[in-house]
Amino acid sequence: MTRTAGCCGNALIASDVIAAMQRNFRLIPRLDVKMEWLIKGVQMEGWRKVGDPAAFAADYALAGADELLFMDVVASLYERNSLHEIIRKVASSVFIPMTVGGGIRTVADVSAMLACGADKVAINTAATRNPDLITEIANRFGSQATVVSIEAVKHSGSWMAMTDNGRNHTGRDAVMWAKEAAERGAGEIIITSVDRDGLGSGYEIELVKLVASQVRVPVVCGGGLGTTGHLKELVTQTDASAASIAQALHWKKLGMGDLRSTLAETGCFVRKLG
């Protein structure tokens, strides 16, 4: 068998060596949804209505978002997810990957969400209650569809994993929980600092570094982006794989173009638009 440079049996093309050295980093608009509305809060509270999630999703995709993340923020409280219709609608015209979370408790819930057009599901509460669920989902749908979302709050020098928008303790250390989730089959970890959420004061770099050091799967960082400088800080100071961005985009403080230019400045790969 022919082999070159690690993985496949074909010679690399010399002119692309520069591209080969580029880091891959994804920009993921996060759309928190309550009933049929895109909403946004501060520190996962005080939600304000932003608009039609499908319209925002389509705009972000056209403007160069790499993926979309939808979260039903009240689903766990009511133990149901109302995103099916929204995802089905978005998936009929938006052809970029979508992760969907909020209130997913069973393999059947995952199946239903994927059937609506989601590519991955994010689980939090149900996984902390029943960690075997991570493995069950990964075995059935693959690790690439299994995302564990962790909401973290700092307490007495360590990070605690929370549920229900930072309201409830799980009794788990957030960093150790990320490690366990990856070992159980999660193909991606979303780590969000509850205290930074919605403030636009920057990502919790220390938390991202800790989580990224404990897992070998991609780490998506959420909670805090307010300026392009915050993105640059995340990219240059951590080896996170992606940033989730909400309020800065929703309130149009920044556009996808600003974030993409910043990524390009840091030497990351930026996908070309049609």
Partner: protein, 214 residues
Amino acid sequence: MTSKSCVIIDYGIGNVFSVTQALAHLDVSVRLTSDRAAIKAADRVILPGVGAFGRAVDTLRAMNLDETIHSFIETGRPFLGICVGMQVMMEQGLEFGTHRGLGLFGGTVERIDLNEADGRPLRVPLIGWNSIHQTTPSRWQGTAFSGVADGSDFYFVHSYAAMMSNPQDVAAVAHAGVGGITAAIQRDNITGVQFHPERSADAGLAFLSGFLAQ
């Protein structure tokens, strides 16, 4: 426009909704089925797939769809495997043990083991957009890639990649860290893509249009 039709093999593995939506967007009449006669009679066939190699190929065999796929390919009509649907066309896969594939292409599907430029191992699954390149200047001529610009970006999500025995079978490569990944394979009427055209925005639709035009 001439009526285009496409059968997607329904074997319970893979995100068929998004493939169906992308084809519907291109005005194609899509039939999702596991009916062997319908698959054999199709104008063109897509084999989707996500998850693990062994589970996918075992399911195809349990449903006797492996024979159906071989019969269809003998007709010379276009056949496309996407992601794990591409991987199972290989001789064997090493995900969770050694599994025999459909053997349409020589080589093995192995776990991605590549480094970043700074020496750190790449995080796996490999998730994200990546540019694909043809292996020779006219490699894409007359293939499903004929309407795709060299260097176009597609969305990938995978932990395993195809190591090809015959470099001629490689249609496209993508760079990952300091290495390369088999992005697409093609021989005669058989095409396989590691990326997800149905999740690759305009470039993905251009590729699918090319497949439909074959």
